[in-house]
């Protein structure tokens, strides 16, 4: 069995939730494997993250370089090619950094890339058996990958339980001297913070959230009518913002806002993992969708198979009558 490594995403000295989820995924690939955490960054907070990871991982490789004061996939790729064993399995969270880093890294390491896995069935010789989803989560597939030359595996955040056993007791090894040339042709300039909107949906207790099922801009009005009747705020999924029907600060999802309401009404929203990644705090979820196979029905508490354009105005009327 090749060595398994996990790329640790961290922010201000704290590892992201994905850090311990990757450990669970690694153990599903090989229960006995020694798993090494890769912690890249610069200065101050780095040791804190390394020590935190040492409790859970069998080893921690600390990579301290000014090039990583900001998580830059282009520079990280060059460094990882230089320090990782060629036939290793590297697990990376399938988020904004992993999508930037991993496909190219697999080419540079001449290893196999497996994207956005949601489960691991196991390792059979050199064949890694995993489960992925296609068509925005509507169907799943069993995928077999030949990893004889190693693999870079992007793991969907939030699907593996975090491994809280703290059974690592690993040593922190400083690999900062082995990076080689990490100069790149892409320069980080700044991070532009998201603008605040007219409502702060992160504070809302009840959200009426609208998706592609609303079909036309003019129909958005019916959603606001329902929200007003309920005393709720209106949020939305990505296609509504892409179409410029609602402003970006109303978007729920990994690339939008993270919300923690008590009740979340998903109207005409299919329920992609990027969208549901922004719904936290275990709210009561109501889904209305005309497609009975929409993934949203797997995570909702209560579902209604209906066209929101017909259902919502009727619901609004009844609520107004209360």
């Amino acid at each position: 069995m090749a060595d398994i490594f996990a790329y640790i995403e961290h922010n201000q000295g704290v590892a992201e939730d994905s850090a311990l989820e990757l450990l669970t995924a690694a153990k599903k690939i090989s229960p006995d494997a020694a798993v090494t955490a890769i912690v890249m960054g610069s200065g101050g907070d780095l040791d804190k993250v390394c020590n935190e990871m040492a409790a859970s991982y069998n080893a921690v490789w600390k990579i301290d370089n000014a090039a990583f004061s900001f998580p830059d996939a282009e520079a990280a790729r060059k460094a990882l090619v230089n320090i990782l064993p060629g036939d290793c399995v590297l697990l990376v969270p399938h988020a904004h950094l992993g999508m930037d880093l991993s496909p190219g890294l697999s080419i540079k390491m001449d290893s196999t890339f497996i994207s956005d896995i949601v489960d691991v069935e196991g390792l059979d010789g050199n064949t890694l058996k995993v489960i992925r989803q296609e068509f925005a989560g509507q169907v799943s597939t069993h995928v077999h990958a030949d990893i004889a030359n190693g693999a870079v595996v992007n793991v969907r955040p939030g699907v593996f339980q975090p491994d809280e056993s703290k059974a690592g007791g690993g040593e922190v090894v400083d690999k900062s001297g082995d990076l080689g040339d990490v100069s790149v042709k892409r320069k980080y300039l700044e991070t532009v913070e998201a603008e605040a909107g007219e409502v702060d949906i992160t504070k809302s207790e009840v959200l009426v959230s609208v998706g592609r099922g609303v079909e036309e801009e003019d129909n958005i009005e019916t959603i606001f009518d329902l929200a007003e009747a309920m005393g709720a705020d209106v949020s939305c999924s990505r296609p509504i913002v892409d179409a410029k029907w609602l402003e970006k600060p109303r978007q729920v999802g990994t690339s939008g806002q993270t919300v923690k309401p008590k009740v979340y009404m998903a109207l005409g929203i299919s329920g992609s993992f990027q969208h549901m990644g922004g719904v936290k705090g275990n709210p009561f979820i109501v889904a209305v969708n005309k497609n009975p196979k929409a993934p949203i029905f797997q995570v909702a508490d209560v579902g209604v198979e209906a066209d929101i354009l017909e259902f919502v105005p009727e619901l609004t009327e009844k609520i107004k009558e209360l």
């Binding site: 956005d116 597939t141 009840v206 978007q251 209604v304």
Partner: protein, 262 residues
């Protein structure tokens, strides 16, 4: 600026319910409506807008069969000047790496300053752009949602967590994967499609590209999809049944109980 945009013909999930065929080895494709991958459409629009500003031309390319030609024509109707179809029986079954290898060979035959892909397509892997950049040794940025042209380089924004945007300067030539919402893709009417109906679209096979089809097609694929299956529903939602009136009544009871009505 010479821009190459990589596009893909995919089943339109907004128009179709995806179902699995009786053998479980594919989705039911007979009644599917196909169109250009949504992300790619934004990439083509962005390329056209850049060329409108700084000059040059836009070429759309796809790896596929004869049916893929229709998506090239659609994007040419939007305003892309050239189309290029990479097609060969030996390409069938290519995985992401195989597809990127075929595209890399096409890039090397041309002289492009900028290569755009959609951030992802129907299989959600989001892999071809990054692989292509690595094969070409070009800098790469994924999930790009703004592009500003500068002298010999670009200023680009990447969409990251929480609606924030990371800004980068990136040297040309480079590869960018484009996120939806970067622009508003123009409408393509029947008239536009007719205008480009007879424009010749060159086809390149493995030998034209100087690659060995057996190194990029299904036999070389290291990542293989074995089947399709419906995800287990788990507990799933309690589906409310009955007349609309009954459903609404039950739903209102739930909303009251859970604090959803104020």
């Amino acid at each position: 600026m010479e821009i190459l945009v990589c596009v893909k013909r995919v089943p339109d999930t907004a128009e179709n319910e995806i179902e699995i065929n009786s053998e479980g080895n594919d989705i039911e494709r007979d009644d599917l409506v196909y169109s250009v991958n949504e992300w790619d459409n934004y990439a083509v629009e962005e390329a056209i807008q850049i060329v409108d500003k700084v000059g040059g031309s836009v070429t759309v390319v796809t790896v596929g069969d004869e049916e893929s030609e229709e998506v090239l024509r659609r994007e040419m109707a939007m305003g892309a000047q050239n189309g290029l179809l990479l097609t060969d029986d030996g390409f069938e079954g290519a995985d992401g790496k195989g597809t990127a290898s075929i595209l890399a060979a096409a890039v090397k035959k041309g002289n492009y300053d900028l290569i755009l892909t959609g951030a992802q397509a129907d299989d959600g892997a989001a892999e071809v752009g990054g692989m292509l950049a690595a094969m070409l040794d070009y800098p790469y940025a994924s999930l790009v949602n703004t592009i500003e042209t500068q002298d010999g380089k670009l200023k680009v924004g990447r969409e990251v967590e929480g609606g924030n945007q990371d800004m980068y300067e990136i040297e040309l030539p480079c590869v960018l994967s484009i996120q939806t919402g970067i622009n508003e893709p123009r409408y393509v009417g029947i008239r536009g499609i007719r205008k480009v109906a007879s424009v010749e679209i060159p086809e390149y096979g493995a030998s034209d590209l100087g690659i060995d089809a057996s190194s990029v097609g299904g036999d070389a694929a290291k990542v293989k999809r074995m089947d399709y299956f419906m995800p287990e529903m788990g507990e799933g939602a309690e589906m409310l049944e009955g007349s609309t009136e009954e459903i609404i009544e039950k739903l209102i009871e739930y909303l009251k109980a859970k604090g959803g009505l104020k």
